[in-house]
Subunit: 199 residues, 2 copies
């Protein structure tokens, strides 16, 4: 399969590694990749798809939200999470659908804050929750048997900078996260959120 | 208790009726109430709380999102749902917290589209999903034993204009929805989403 992976962080990298090992042709896009994209800009997403052309699968593994104590999170902070994490991934689906082959798939990315709280995490939780519900809703309306799922990992073993914020949380290896994208791309399910809570 | 109910639709009205029957002092606010508020405007929310003063509970039962087929839902449509449903309810919590008495509560409102899809419902699903996750996250950080829960009803018996969009969905009477707000306000739980899927 020809697979476009948008986002080159730990999670996107895990997807790239796992999918390449399966023999797929993987195209990477990010702010700094050969295929550049600013996913907060719908026009930039449109240019990316016009450049890449038809693919069998699209993986969106990107987005950020402000981390601040609840009392310091203002309107603009919650909006920033929605504009920088939720809407970019939704826009990738909405703009990218015509470029996905019949029976292809989208796989989005959220995280453990959709189901477990940490201090300072409320804006991220909101952004993730929106994407999970969108996944369920979009699955029933996508055309041409195109599927959509979301991978929602707990903190990665390799993402050491996040570890202090997730005390005692079971960690999941990047390799296991990569396999969730393989399952989403090569599998048959749609509308699912794969919650990876570690071994 | 002194309870501020923001939103005067079927759901907000059900909350008002049930809470008044319990003997609480209920203050209603909406675009057209004596206490006027435009909940899409944080400044208007701030003015409302400054006008009402300290309360024991706040109920947010408001918000809208565009209903269109998935293929017609653009960036601005998803953003509208987040700006008109998600952020107003989050802003009510964030701006209203200093006005809620120790041990008081917030109760937000989502709906069945957070867990079951219908055609044209993807923007509403996303907006609801964000609020449900916010509820879980905010619960652990609110100060002074303030609680937060969300009531998520299926389509109401009385909301007949919605019935054609929810074929075969079990309907829930407004009176039962009202009781969910009583449970949220008088009860002990926090961080919960009360899914009302009908009898």
């Amino acid at each position: 399969m020809k697979i476009l992976v948008i986002g080159t962080g730990h999670v996107g990298g895990a997807a790239v590694t796992a999918l390449a090992e399966r023999g797929h042709e993987v195209i990477q896009a990010s702010r700094s990749s050969a295929h550049t994209v600013d996913a907060t800009d719908p026009e930039s997403i449109a240019q990316l798809f016009a450049s890449v052309g038809t693919v069998d699968a699209v993986i969106a593994a990107l987005g950020s939200a402000p981390f601040k104590p609840l009392a310091e999170l203002g309107h603009d902070d919650f909006l920033a999470g929605l504009l920088k994490k939720t809407l970019p991934q939704i826009d990738i689906v909405q703009i990218g659908t015509p470029y996905v082959a019949d029976g292809g798939s989208f796989t989005l990315t959220t995280g453990v804050l959709d189901r477990e709280p940490i201090r300072t995490g409320a804006a991220s939780s909101a952004a993730n929750g929106a994407l999970n519900a969108f996944t369920m809703a979009a699955a029933v309306e996508l055309p041409r048997s195109i599927r959509i799922n979301t991978v929602s990992p707990t903190v990665l073993v390799e993402a050491t900078s996040y570890h202090p914020s997730f005390p005692g949380f079971t960690q999941v290896p990047a390799a296991a996260v990569g396999q969730a994208y393989v399952k989403a791309v090569e599998g048959v399910q749609t509308g699912q959120v794969y919650a990876l809570d570690g071994p």
